[in-house]
């Protein structure tokens, strides 16, 4: 698998998968601890209508309008959830369920109504992405990494995903202390002068950006696995936030690599001819990791519950 075809066919999807997994897992840690894990669920469902509306407005499958549309949809969803929760005095889970199913249904309807047969935009693609198609045709081998001409024809998803990852890293790095304090003790953070509402919203926005960027590669539902599974598995390994974040990054990278390799080469090992969905496999591997951590992790029990139960 390290042969000639590795660089053009596998290197870029692999890198994109890793970047997407890490970019989602980082904010996922905080969402998990703040009991907002399902925000990722809601955001990833509403990405679809956002992209469809952006397509209807611009009429082209271009990266930026779609990213903007999806981000706008995510914001609309967050605002709507909050509005319905307050106006209707409904519990947040139900409010979330109302909003994201409705927006998703709207997206599907719009997609069916418009003639998108000529362009590459369909529901299945939006749901489970197409990591395998992000190949780097101009590469001929490892030496292409130094070839400026070939580098210019990298799939645009790779730099975009890398930028997103850097942005997420910056956000987490710069706001590490306020994020940590407001996650564990919101009132204490407020007494220190942290604007917790703004910070919470910023966290949601950053998650939305990560989800939208990853959506392209892995589809809208598998993104949820990247938000939740690595942090959840990391939560079983340690009681310290720093440790948890590092563990989650490790789990994210491992699931991305193993998932991609298993999907691309696993079927060949058992004699089948075609690869299976890489995104689906990444989600599966992250689930397996979570299962292992949940059974063997040193910190898997709730604090205060008796050991060995």
């Amino acid at each position: 698998m390290m042969g000639e075809e590795f660089v053009p066919l596998s290197l870029t999807p692999l890198l994109i998968g890793i970047c997407a997994a890490v970019a989602c897992a980082l904010p996922g840690n905080f969402l998990l601890l703040r009991r907002q894990a399902l925000i990722g669920d809601a955001i990833s469902h509403v990405v679809l209508p956002g992209i469809v509306v952006a397509f209807l407005f611009t009429g082209l499958i271009a990266a930026w309008p779609m990213m903007l549309g999806a981000a706008a949809a995510a914001l609309v969803a967050v605002v709507l959830i909050e509005l319905i929760r307050r106006l209707g005095r409904i519990e947040p889970g139900a409010a979330m369920g109302v909003v994201f199913t409705t927006m998703f249904a709207g997206g599907v309807l719009l997609l069916e109504q418009t003639d998108t047969s000529s362009v590459h935009l369909d529901v299945e693609h939006a749901l489970y992405g197409n990591l395998e198609s992000l190949i780097w045709l101009d590469a001929v081998g490892w030496q292409s990494l130094l070839d400026v001409d070939a580098l210019r024809h990298l799939p645009p998803e790779l730099p975009r995903m890398a930028f997103t990852l850097v942005g997420v890293l910056l956000f987490i790095g710069v706001f590490w202390r306020p994020l940590m304090i407001s996650t564990f003790d919101e009132s204490f953070a407020r007494t220190l002068g942290v604007r917790t509402t703004m910070l919470g919203l910023a966290l949601v926005v950053v998650s939305a950006i990560a989800a939208v960027a990853a959506f392209d590669a892995v589809g809208s539902i598998i993104v949820i696995a990247m938000f939740i599974c690595p942090p959840a598995a990391a939560r079983m390994m340690t009681n310290r936030l720093e440790g948890q974040v590092l563990w989650s990054v490790a789990f994210a990278i491992v699931s991305a690599i193993f998932g991609y390799v298993l999907a691309g080469y696993g079927p060949l090992w058992v004699g089948a001819a075609d690869a299976v969905s890489a995104a689906g496999m990444i989600a599966t591997v992250s689930g397996v990791l979570l299962a292992i951590a949940a059974v063997f992790g040193p910190c898997r029990h709730r604090a205060g519950s008796p050991a060995g139960v």
Binding site: L109, L127, A232, P267, H301
Partner: protein, 401 residues
């Protein structure tokens, strides 16, 4: 065209879909109510996504044994099994690890869905059977619905309704007060399990009609809609059933009346429309009712304060207060109080004094707690008590020079 659809005049198949969807909507709404009251609405999201691998595996097994692979009952059994496994994982994660329920929901939902996608791609690459129908389970497809399929859906819907009818008492009790229920000798965990089994049944039956991503909407939106209209749990259940059935029926009819209107999304959108109408216009809990309540309260406060100001000879500048006083004929255009105005102002001031005495009196403590600056004192004290207070205040006296 739409009218034809609503009256079941669009032919055999469309009518079949409409009737099946209506039954499904009713049972989903009713089942979802218990989930909603128990504050576990999103558990249904995990259950529905967890059906996907089951559908794929069931298809593979049926093909391996030389079958067609599209047998609906077989696929539904497969989806039920994998939804059950998903539910078990969810419960295990929340019970035995430190993960909160929302994280467990997200993990189960996404991992099972991802695994399901892997199996779907396996089926595609094997190229066996007629796999074209499997994508229909994602978003539902009613176009090719057969008599047998409709029968299964109708029977499933009817069965869940029957179970709920039999078990409604303990289920309501557990939904509202699990501790009290277990003190009464009801096994909360068994009732919870029954509730989840019902949700699973509705999900599995609904897969074909609305698809696994949107079935959640049928379980969540109607109960939330119904909650706006009543405070009684038995009525919430009935209303949710009606809302679900109505949305499903209108949605199915709409989708049959024009091309390119997929049934599942249309049903969800109709359901949301009902929800939005309820949110805005429901009596008491609706937004409009709340706004009207607020305006009425605001006017009462302004009128009262205006009268007190008149009685004490203070100048009123507040425009709303002035407008209200004029409209009620208490104040002339030049700012001088009319005769009724003077009378009512005097009454308001006297009431304030009466209240002040009530609040100073230990023996009237319970009454004093009702004071909010607006309540008429006649509504809380008897004539005798008021006369007694007036004696303590005394009659108007002359002004000493």
């Amino acid at each position: 065209m739409l009218l034809d659809a609503l009256l079941l005049q669009l032919g055999y198949n469309a009518s079949l879909v409409a009737i099946g969807a209506t039954l499904l909507g009713a049972s989903a709404g009713i089942t979802g109510t218990f989930l909603f009251l128990r504050k576990r609405a999103l558990v249904s999201d995990a259950i529905s996504h967890a059906t996907l691998p089951g559908v794929g595996v069931a298809f593979l097994i049926m093909v391996a044994f030389g079958g067609d692979g599209r047998n609906l009952i077989g696929l539904l059994i497969g989806s039920a099994v994998s939804a059950g496994i998903g539910l078990w994982c969810l419960n295990w994660l929340t019970r035995n690890t430190r993960l909160a329920e929302d994280a467990a929901i997200g993990a189960v939902l996404s991992v099972f869905f991802g695994f399901g996608v892997v199996i779907l791609t396996v089926i595609q690459s094997l190229g066996v059977g007629r796999q074209a129908g499997l994508e229909g389970f994602l978003l539902g497809s009613t176009a090719g619905m057969l008599w047998n399929d409709a029968l299964i859906i109708a029977a499933g819907g009817a069965a869940t309704l029957l179970v709920i009818l039999l078990m409604r008492r303990p289920m309501t009790l557990v939904a509202f007060d699990p501790e009290y229920a277990s003190a009464r000798g009801i096994s909360v965990s068994q009732i919870d399990m029954l509730m989840m089994a019902l949700v699973m049944a509705v999900t599995v039956v609904g897969l074909k009609v609305v698809g696994l991503i949107l079935i959640v909407a049928l379980l969540i939106i109607p109960p939330v809609t119904a909650r706006f209209w009543t405070e009684r749990s038995d009525l919430v259940v009935v209303f949710a059933g009606i809302a679900g059935a109505l949305a499903a029926f209108i949605g199915a009819a709409l989708s049959a009346s024009a091309p390119n209107l997929p049934t599942g999304p249309i049903i969800v959108l109709v359901s949301f429309a009902l929800f939005a109408l309820s949110l805005l216009f429901a009596p008491n809990r609706g937004v409009l009712a709340a706004v009207m309540r607020h305006v009425r309260f605001q006017r009462q406060v302004h009128l009262r304060q205006g009268l007190l100001a008149l009685a004490q000879g203070q100048v009123i500048y507040e425009p709303l207060t002035l407008r209200l006083l004029r409209r009620h004929g208490l104040l002339r255009a030049d700012g001088v109080a009319t005769e009724t105005g003077v009378a009512r102002a005097a009454k308001a001031l006297r009431d304030e004094h009466r209240w002040a005495l009530v609040r100073a009196d230990q023996s009237l403590e319970a009454t004093a707690a009702l004071y909010d600056g607006l309540r008429e004192i006649e509504t809380v004290l008897t004539d005798d008590q008021i006369r007694d207070l007036d004696r303590r205040i005394g009659t108007p006296r002359e002004v000493l020079a």
